[in-house]
Amino acid sequence: MTTTTLNRPDTAVRSRPNGPGTAGHRRGRILHWIAVHSVAVALALFFVLPFVFVFLTSVMSDEQAMSGDLWPGSWNWSNYSTVFHTPGFLGWWRNSLMYALLGTVFTVCSSVPVAYALAKFRFRGRRTAMILVISTMMLPPQVVIIPMYLVWAQQFHLSGSLWPLIIPMAFGDAYSIFLLRQFLLTIPQEYIESAKVDGCGEFRTLLRIVVPMAKPGIAAVALFQFFYCWNDYFGPQIYAAQNPGAWTLSYGLESFKSAHAVNWNLTMAATLLVMAPVVIVFFFAQKAFVEGVTLTGVKG
């Protein structure tokens, strides 16, 4: 392993000028390598061990899960099927999936045109609009939740369902608009101009030229929105609490723990089943994801 370090070109170049003390120099580098990688391994344990313990407990027998044992005495894979057969669990899966998929599609379709206008059109009030978008993005959802709930419950009679969470996403989401705008700014104006010269209308320019070029940004925003919906707890708690048939996985998981108060093994199996989809999606879409997170940073 040390050879890899020493073979790196920059090391080779740098060690040449101070030619003499090579032996001491090399020892210093090796010690540095060891120090850095020990810290990294220790930290990796901090990040990974929780998953390991959760998994190991999820296959323990009922009695063992109540003890302090770390390693399962027997591997009870049936815990997972028990979880799946818990009444309601599959329904929560379906609801989570519906919320996340519809929410993502609605958000992307409504936010792309807005972000495009904010990024590429020049008009009076653009700066004000941008400040309003950022303000809504920053404000806690609890600030407006009470009148919102009253409207959905009393005027539309939609409490007990996830629709009060999904419908607003068809009207633009501040965070997605912000991220998409940051991304669309990087698309050169010339492409848009030349599309117009070729006789494309604004909307066709957006669909045919801008959207294909903005795919990485759109993918990142879609992923974020999917995860946001999948992870959302506050929303379903407000609107779906009174109707278990509308619960999502994130929301149902808590009641699952309460119902199986002592069965840590089943709770851990359910926990892993809630985590699994996001981790799987991440491995398939790693690049878009990291791109998106970097996008949140300063790129304006």
Binding site: T4, R8, W33, V39, L43, A44, F46, V48, L49, P50, F53, V54, T57, M66, S67, S110, P113, V114, A117, F121, F123, R126, R127, I131, I134, S135, M138, L139, P140, Q142, V143, I145, P147, M148, Y149, L150, F203, Y233, Q237, I238, A241, Q242, S250, Y251, E254, S258, A259, A261, W264, T267, M268, T271, L272, V274, M275, F282, V293, T296, G297, V298
Partner: protein, 332 residues
């Protein structure tokens, strides 16, 4: 969208039109105005209906007595007095939220920066380490919290079990009012992935030549960090601090779930319990809004508290605007 679709037809018409009353310039401007409105319309509707209206309604309800059954009645400043002067839980909730804002944000930024720096130094297996450090960030908050309540379970949890191997008696974590907030901080440090990626990207953007120049001047590791790295990443650190503050002001799910589960009361969601177990030590302002509005049906008081939260969040947002980390387009 229908508006914007009609634009091409219009422009085709203009080419053949022998320019009537309107000058072409004015028509172009009108068309552009329609186009802008068309593209912005989803957000204009969304902003007014899902933000503007409820904000006004929150102010309205803050002066009303309303239990969500009988019609609201005007009570003047009574709700405001009640929340700010009498409500016993307001103090603890505000204190907990501020505590979390200060401690959690500071530790997350320091830890995230440390991890970012470490990643840039790793030579072997960097991809593997990066993924390992990043994955916990993806865990849904509820699932991560359930996992941590299990891991930090005082009697049978793996963490205290391992501490006992080396002769340490672990604390009661989520069950001890003094340890419950630090436990939440630990949970938030586990999910450091977002900050790690942002810091990593900005650290890699620091020009290599500057480090080489510092090397030639014989600068040590600290001097290099202080005079080369730090000035280059200050905007990102500021960005991380402000977004961290904004997020922590909304801190809700983890605190609520941890408190509920650690209390061990066998309850389904929606069951009324005193929030913030143990001893209100995990009660945050957003939780109190929920509890007032949806458990006690004291709409007026809940709206007052919402507005207090709004004021604090707005102040922080304005600070961000002032420091403008390149978020806002320059005036044009």
């Amino acid at each position: 969208m229908a508006l914007s679709l009609s634009t091409p037809a219009k422009s085709a018409g203009r080419a053949t039109d022998p320019a009537p009353r309107d000058s072409p310039l004015r028509r172009k401007r009108n068309r552009e105005r329609l186009r802008n409105l068309g593209f912005l319309s989803p957000w204009i509707v969304g902003f007014s209906v899902f933000f503007g209206y409820p904000l006004v309604a929150t102010v309205y309800f803050s002066f009303m007595h309303y239990n969500q059954i009988k019609a609201p009645t005007f009570v003047g400043l009574r709700n405001w007095r009640y929340v700010l002067e009498q409500m016993p839980l307001f103090g603890p909730a505000l204190w907990n939220t501020l505590w979390l804002v200060v401690v959690m944000v500071a530790l997350r930024v320091v830890f995230g920066l440390g991890i970012g720096l470490l990643i840039t130094k790793i030579k072997t297996g960097v991809g593997l380490f990066r993924t390992a450090f990043y994955i916990p960030y993806l865990a849904p908050p509820v699932a991560a919290t359930v996992a941590f309540v299990f891991l930090l379970n005082p009697s049978t949890g793996p963490v205290n079990e391992m501490l006992s191997w080396i002769g340490l008696h672990g604390p009661n974590w989520f069950n001890d009012p003094n340890w419950s907030k630090p436990s939440l901080v630990l949970l938030s440090l586990w999910g450091i992935g977002d900050l790690m990626v942002i810091f990593m990207a900005s650290l890699l953007d620091v020009p290599k030549e500057q480090y080489e120049a510092a090397d030639l001047d014989g600068a040590g590791a600290w001097a290099k960090f202080r005079y080369v790295t730090w000035p280059a990443i200050t905007p990102i650190v500021l960005f991380a601090v402000v977004t961290g503050v904004v997020q922590t002001m909304q801190y809700y799910t983890q605190a609520l779930v941890a408190g509920k589960l650690a209390s061990g009361v066998s309850i389904g969601p929606g069951t009324v319990i005193q929030p913030g177990y143990p001893d209100h030590s995990t009660l945050t302002v957003p939780q109190l809004v929920y509890s007032l509005g949806f458990q006690n049906f004291n709409t007026g008081a809940a709206c007052v508290l919402s507005l207090v939260l709004f004021a604090i969040a707005m102040a922080v947002t304005l600070l961000l605007m002032r420091k403008s980390v390149g978020l806002i387009p320059a005036e044009d």
